[in-house]
Symmetry: D2
Subunit: 289 residues, 4 copies
């Protein structure tokens, strides 16, 4: 839907902190004719790690796009012991949405998508139920029902992999998808599966967090978006927010009030991911502004 | 310091929900010449419990103050199976503050007290360290050092009880007091000991919550004020709030940012308690507006 | 879409404050077999005005539905000098949405509507542009294009009135409708037109508030939903909220960040209106919990 | 009170955006033996202005402290057309507090100061009333009463200048000081006078903002800290925040609830100023993280 008209490179990197890295990298870009559009860096002084995101315009960059990675790797990455990715903005990422029965997160994502707010393609919705098929029809997006039970998880996930391959999917958004993915699945998409959990993690891990919040008598409820790892609800947190409740709120009220929180928190995380502004490292995230 | 000039009665009650309770109680007050200044009620329809707070002016109330409780008990409380308290605002409650080494909550409370914001008396500060003795001198409030160790807890708490008796203390505020009270202590002051825990409970119960929050990589930190019960950090929550943090914040930053949160959340809870607007019931609180 | 299965009456009222009103009204309901499901009241002691919202189940109420208003008027409203409305929940209200070119508020409303979150009917969308016709088709709701210019406002609004009559519309939501309604229009729908203004009113009244916010260098931007009155952006405020921004945000960023704020603030206000929990009085609102 | 043990230089600068500035400046610091402890930069792409804050350890820096400014000016500032300041952290800044009758902001500042939270000296409190003299005594800080009327402003401000000189004051905090300073006064301390205004500016400029907020029926109240300029309440905003209110809140409630907001918002701004993280430019501020 949204074709990017930009021709930029985005470098996301971290390495052991050393003096002069910014200087060296910005000089590399400047010298070769790149125009820096964005630079944000952060030094974790506790662990001596340097993080940076740089985006530059490739229009007058003299190194050919397909060779940038090689050059960068040879000249800097090895020398500074970097882990890094260089992505290009001329091809929008391709995102699959996994859903179950609740529509609020799905609608929120598709409304943004349709309005052209995000530079992304959404060619595929997968669900373990048929409930939201009508929503997919409204937005004209293929909807695949893959029913999951304890007994058929291996085969059904195999079907999902096929679909994800077929549609060339870069990352997955679990928009209130009520299934736990297998370890195999999670390992195939490291820091590429974004989940929304309906609590202020690490409080109320697992099922029925609103019921647990009601029982505990909290005065705020939260929602947390994070990358899925093999430990349930324990992956790197991308975004969290809360809303105030009172003693008057029943479990049904919490579920109702939580929906707005869930959709906004999930969409904020997805947006940052699309913009390649999230750098996951050791079960935490650096989220660039 | 602040002597109340009001001559009001405050009824806090709950009972099984039945039709007509508001009508009956407001008629009781009106008929006897009381002028209702505040009425707030709430029905927990899940558990069928009715909660109410009514405050009325006693100036023209024809039932003598010392007999109001008797009359109310005979006429209504037994009939409706109420649990209730009637308090009078002409005598400010007396509050003791327990502290250890950190001053921010103590200063916040004493600044409000000195400014006359609260109808309360603060005749006593107890600490297990001498660090904040100077603060007590600034505000001219007796400061008693009661050193607590594993071995001397029973005797030392006995000294505390004596002081609390001597100073006629109604309720206790733990203003970052770093000791766990004994069960015996807690049982003597049911729903009368207010603690501030420096996390968004039930996340990060126990010691060093900021360190735990840092390790988990949360994007918000919280503070929770609650009544102390015998289970650690598990008592009825009165107030909570949060502040946004980022990947840039170290543990020291969390501690620094958390201080404002702790003091404001604690003071909000203390204020509601002083106003007799908190009704604890089954490990939750009803907090009237 | 959502047919209410409830058979309740909702009384919204205000009158000069007098002792005993709650008692009298709750007794009226109880005595006649009504089961009170909700009661919230508030006394404005500055202006001596009493406000109340009561909702009760009509299933065993012995006064016939069509006579409740008469009885209430004769027995209480005149005696206590009340202004009041009694509404019944068995017929959902009918809401028209006015839009221009931006889809975010429209999608947010229609997603809630389709999910059955609100007891409301939305039979009509009116726009001065064709841009959002596709959205109306997705949700299968009639979309009428009424082009408005300075010169044709009178005739075009006449067409709108016809449509509003034809579709039996109870209230109107301006979901980023970029036209100023005529005084005549506004007078026909007193406290029945809900607008969303993209600033923290009363700051930045009028056009281009995000540009003005950017120029002023504020650190928070806001959105305000209010009932439309003849003075621009000056009607009774129903709901407001804010989001934090920084010096890094351009006008485009403010517009982008503001969209989530606008849609959530508008939907919260519409929800309260649908639940008949908003009572406008003297250019302010009482919003019941 | 707090003597800094750091020996750092802090560069705050802005200039027309050009490629390579970060590289050049970080190389200057690195080459000469400085260890960069903090670097944050921001490019305003709308106006093509580059902003940066760099802090580095001077322990092994080979350029003598007293010559750093000269070198930097000659080598870079002129070449890049910079406006800049280089400050050193070994001498804490000296701050004067101006107050009138309300103590909440003053206590909040002095509590932080006494706890050693801020690297600052507070040698002087000036007031136009005697009300807070006791607070100054509690904290053992000179308190000068300078009564201001319309007729004596010129002479009285002259006395204030003398005191500010005598105490070697670097910047001034108006902690709910209820006087408007003269243009002459303001010109002497450009971006060095921090005020707290008790509204969400630009709403409710001038006197009695809580009364105005009450009249308007807003659902949130705010507080704004800003540098004082000659136009009332129109200077560069450093920090803002809000708190939710309801129809139940009287003007007295707004004043009460606003106090916490005022003190926290003011202290956050003062802290950022002390840390030299605020860069005012064209009536806006860049606030580094």
């Amino acid at each position: 839907m949204t074709k990017s008209t930009h021709n930029n490179a985005v470098l996301l990197m971290h390495c052991p902190d050393q003096q002069g890295i910014i200087a060296v990298i910005t000089e590399f870009i400047n010298t070769n004719g790149g125009n820096i559009l964005y630079l944000d860096q952060y030094v974790d002084r506790v662990n001596s790690v340097f993080y940076m995101r740089v985006e530059w315009d490739l229009d007058k960059f003299i190194i050919p796009k397909e060779k940038i990675n090689d050059y960068f790797n040879t000249l800097y990455a090895q020398r500074y012991n970097m882990e890094y990715r260089i992505n290009f903005t001329d091809r929008p990422q391709r995102m699959a949405i996994f859903v179950s029965k609740m529509s609020h997160c799905l609608y929120d994502i598709l409304a943004r998508y349709t309005a052209g707010d995000w530079e992304v393609e959404i060619p595929l919705i997968i669900s373990n139920h048929t409930d939201l098929q009508d929503v997919s029809r409204q937005f004209n997006i293929p909807f695949e029902v893959i029913n999951i039970t304890k007994d058929n998880k291996v085969e059904q996930e195999a079907k999902e992999f096929e679909l994800l391959e077929k549609y060339n999917i870069d990352f997955i958004v679990l928009a209130r998808y009520m299934q736990v993915l297998s370890e195999d699945f999670i390992h195939r998409y490291p820091n590429k599966i974004i989940n929304i959990h309906h609590s202020f993690l690490p409080a109320f891990v697992g099922a029925k967090p609103y019921h647990a919040a009601y029982e505990r008598g909290v005065k705020l409820i939260g929602a947390t978006s994070h990358y899925v790892t093999t430990e349930l609800d324990a992956g790197p947190i991308i975004e969290q927010d809360i809303v105030r409740i009172t003693h008057k709120d029943t479990v049904a009220d919490l579920i109702h009030k939580g929906r707005d929180l869930e959709k906004i928190v999930l969409s904020r995380a997805v947006e940052k991911h699309i913009q390649r502004k999230v750098l996951a490292y050791k079960n935490k995230t650096v989220v660039f502004a």
